[in-house]
């Protein structure tokens, strides 16, 4: 068997193809997204939990809210400070963050995630009115 050349060429082509996205995007990193807070959100100062925690865990929180509301019929969330919130993406989260495009979408686009929340939940109560 004397396929050494073919095999090595094949391996090189394979590695080149697989790593192509890295070469292609090198030095073209997208800028860190800056979500915009609405005046209402600025005034409220705090979300239902602290900002760092929300940054990291809002998706899990929304999943818990979803199950609590839909499956257990529990719609009130009491946070660490004892403050109560109506667990509703459209009516609570987006009431404050009524700028989905500058708030939600910026980070989601940066992270290349497309949550399917908006297939059903109306994405911007304030603007579609």
């Amino acid at each position: 068997m004397n396929d050494k050349g073919k095999i090595i060429a094949g391996v090189i082509i394979f590695i080149a193809l697989v790593t192509f996205p890295f070469w292609y995007s090198m030095g073209k990193a997208a800028p860190k997204p800056e979500p915009v807070l609405t005046p209402q959100a600025l005034e409220a100062k705090a979300c239902v939990r602290d900002k760092v925690w929300i940054n990291a865990n809002h998706m899990q929180l929304l999943n818990e809210w979803r199950d609590a509301v839909v499956r257990d019929g529990e719609r009130v969330y009491v946070n660490l400070e004892g403050k109560e919130f109506n667990m509703s993406l459209s009516n609570t989260c987006l009431d404050c963050h009524s700028n989905k495009a500058e708030f939600c979408d910026r980070c989601h686009n940066y992270a290349a995630v497309s949550p399917y929340c908006w297939d059903c939940h109306i994405d911007n109560p304030k603007e579609t009115k």
């Binding site: 939990r49 865990n57 899990q60 929180l61 818990e64 809210w65 979803r66 609590a68 839909v70 499956r71 257990d72 019929g73 529990e74 719609r75 009130v76 969330y77 009491v78 946070n79 660490l80 400070e81 004892g82 109506n86 667990m87 459209s90 009516n91 399917y116 297939d119 059903c120 939940h121 109306i122 109560p125 579609t128 009115k129």
Partner: protein, 265 residues
């Protein structure tokens, strides 16, 4: 990990059964005042029951015009689309939660050859019966359709895989499927309630979102007293009083599903 508190408590509960670890559990459950961990609960205004039920007094709803405000209230509240056959060319993608049909269609097993003239032409409201023993819940492979403790047969649109087993299982034709994106077919949108996505089943939810706020279902509110909603398990409820004093029928009782919607004819 305070956020997995719910799961943790479930696990702790299971552990407590085996290991007698109830003191640990008590330590968690104790305390009041400002919440040490976030929690979820029912709202103060919520209307709750053991088995919600509905009585429809068809004597008070004798024409299509009488029914229309009820159907419109339901469909507008829940963003139920009108997929116009004139636009899409057929009626296959129709979605309806509450609609009208004839006596013989609603009660095919009670059809009489010679019957009351007025009843024969009277329109009947039909909807999900929120059965006591729902075959759709039995069929669903993901628990996307489930029976809540208050008797409502509810749907979790997030979990539905769109297999439509529930539609085959329902003997009342109460369920619709989103064969396409429903949003382009909404004339107006109720911003407080979600729409649906393509590929999931939907049906009447007995207005769980309104009950949570202490409101009666939209159709009941729009009915001028023709519809009575209440707890079938509470002998002191208004609905039980209505059932005690009126002769009522239910759809297809022979199938044993225990419909919670009653009709005064």
């Amino acid at each position: 990990m305070e956020d997995s508190r719910r799961n943790f408590l479930k696990m702790a509960g299971i552990a407590a059964l085996g290991a007698g670890a109830s003191p640990v559990l008590n330590a968690f459950a104790a305390g009041g005042g400002p919440a040490a961990t976030p929690k979820t609960m029912k709202g103060k205004d919520i209307l709750w029951a053991k088995q919600w039920g509905l009585v429809i007094d068809t004597r008070k709803l004798t024409t299509a015009e009488d029914l229309k405000p009820l159907i419109d209230a339901c469909h507008k509240t829940h963003n139920v689309p009108f997929i116009d056959p004139a636009i899409v060319g057929h009626n296959r993608h129709e979605i309806k939660w509450l609609w009208q049909t004839g006596y013989a269609n609603a009660f095919p097993d009670l059809e009489a050859r010679y019957t009351h003239e007025e009843v024969e032409t009277r329109p009947f409201l039909v909807l999900c019966n929120h059965c006591e023993n729902p075959p759709c819940v039995r069929a669903c492979p993901t628990k996307a359709t489930f029976k809540r403790p208050d008797g409502i047969v509810a749907m979790d649109f997030h979990r539905c895989i769109g297999c439509r087993f529930c539609m085959a299982a329902c003997p009342f034709g109460a369920r619709s499927f989103n064969y396409r994106d429903p949003r382009p077919f909404l004339a107006e949108t109720n911003l407080a309630f979600p729409t649906r996505t393509k590929g999931v089943v939907e049906k009447c939810n007995f207005c769980v979102e309104r009950l949570a706020d202490g409101l009666l279902p939209a159709c009941v509110e729009a009915s001028n007293g023709a519809l009575v909603f209440g707890d079938l398990e509470d002998p002191a409820s208004e609905i039980r009083e209505v059932l005690r004093t009126n002769y009522t029928i239910r759809r297809k009782v022979a199938l044993g599903t225990g419909p919670a919607v009653y009709y005064i004819v």
